[in-house]
Symmetry: C2
Subunit: 261 residues, 2 copies
């Protein structure tokens, strides 16, 4: 079976399976994006979370929250108020932690070039910790990830370590992050639409493709500038952006920044 | 110029440049790892941070800490005590945030296959948010990233929002994360050594290579099991591990988990 046929088989198999998540459905804020991707022959999504505020109890074992031994006191994909957390905290008898987890999406891609296009869109939309995985049989996956959210220990052995006023302050920050996260998802959707349109134009003008970049994941500068002028999708030619946030940061040992990949 | 020659040129250029980081040198805990990578013809490192506890002031603008407008009150790559933070917090006049940032490393790779090997090592060592970037001219970079650290707002408009007791509690958690982070770096070093040895064996037995996996980034099961028995490097054949932590998590919409990439 050729690569394309194999990919179509995987996709059909994936999309026919039941949603195994606790919620059992795709989060409202990413339904359109998931549909856009799954409607394209070169992509299908394998998991997603629009972003959420969660309160976990227990199971901090050294470095990581141990999901097996911890209890979910609260999960919400909507803004959250102090009283919800206060009520949920009453059930905590171990180490409760409040977290904001931003949007995450896994997309299987037909080939590396498709993953590169999607990666570029993800970075341009602000999801700077995104990255490609290529498995041993060539399965190619893009993980869309944001820079860190928020992770705040609130209680120890069932004992609350902060004031209600602090929880209120914290939730304002978490809700703000939730709002910004939503904007980024919208930006991602809009950037993706434009990138796919550009791809369609490039593919229908093969001579232009030969004259242009070898890799079609980047459109000629002129087109991108037009896009910028329209203000629809802010992108930068500079691939430095493909790096982590921390690269702006003089505290990191950086013998060299590749100016242009 | 062929790809290998181009890669050698980039590498020479990179390693001859001055370290532009504030610190001006590679962090102590990752010197050996950086040397191991730079001693190989297929890799060179472009940036690194061993992991650190930082206290930032101000510049929270919606979602992100704005690095341009914020002030670094404290940075340490070593365990930290309460008094250090209390003293540093006296200088805060905006929104102070305590963060633990785990190990991060960027490695430019000669070709995709080299990045796959390194990616596999990173995942096996616990750096589950690692990912590959392939630039428009084919430059291939692996970012080694951990799952999230710790990000805790401490003050608002210069006003401390938590108690000293809470700061003490928080630093115990941050120091524990620092310790676990160090163990992961050591595991990464050891796993990398083994992977490179396996590569050398595979390359010196081309017939074995033909009989085995197409992609040399994965050694035959038998060898990996021997490795496990020795307890030197815990690895799993299952590529599910290449996914984010959140994939264990029933809260995420998951129509399908690829069982084997």
């Amino acid at each position: 079976m050729d690569r394309s046929a194999e990919f179509r088989r995987w996709k059909a198999q994936c999309l026919s399976k039941a949603d195994l998540s606790r919620k059992g459905s795709v989060d409202e804020d990413v339904v359109e994006l998931v549909q856009l991707l799954n409607g394209r022959e070169e992509f299908f999504t394998t998991s997603s979370c629009a972003g959420r505020i969660i309160l976990l109890d227990g199971g901090v074992d050294g470095f990581e929250v141990q999901k097996q031994n911890c209890c979910w006191l609260l999960v919400t994909h909507k803004p959250c108020v102090k009283d919800d957390v206060i009520v949920a905290l009453k059930k905590a008898n171990s180490d409760a932690i409040l977290k904001f987890e931003p949007f995450i999406l896994h997309v299987q891609c037909r080939q590396l070039q498709d993953a590169q296009i999607l990666h570029s869109v993800a970075i341009d939309s602000g999801f700077r910790n995104s990255g490609i995985t290529v498995g041993k049989r060539g399965k190619t996956m893009l993980a869309v990830r944001s820079t860190h959210g928020l992770e705040v220990p609130l209680s120890h052995k069932g004992q609350l370590m902060v004031t209600e006023e602090y929880i209120d302050f914290l939730l304002k920050i978490a809700n703000q992050k939730m709002e910004e996260n939503k904007k980024r998802i919208e930006r991602f959707y809009s950037c993706l639409q434009h990138a796919l349109e550009r791809e369609a134009i490039t593919n229908s003008h093969p001579r232009e493709k030969i004259r242009g970049e070898k890799n079609s994941s980047y459109s000629p500068k002129k087109k991108r500038n037009t896009e910028k002028a329209r203000g629809k999708c802010i992108t930068e030619e500079n691939d430095k952006e493909l790096e982590n946030d921390d690269d702006d940061d003089p505290g990191i040992s950086v013998p060299f920044f590749p100016e242009d990949y």
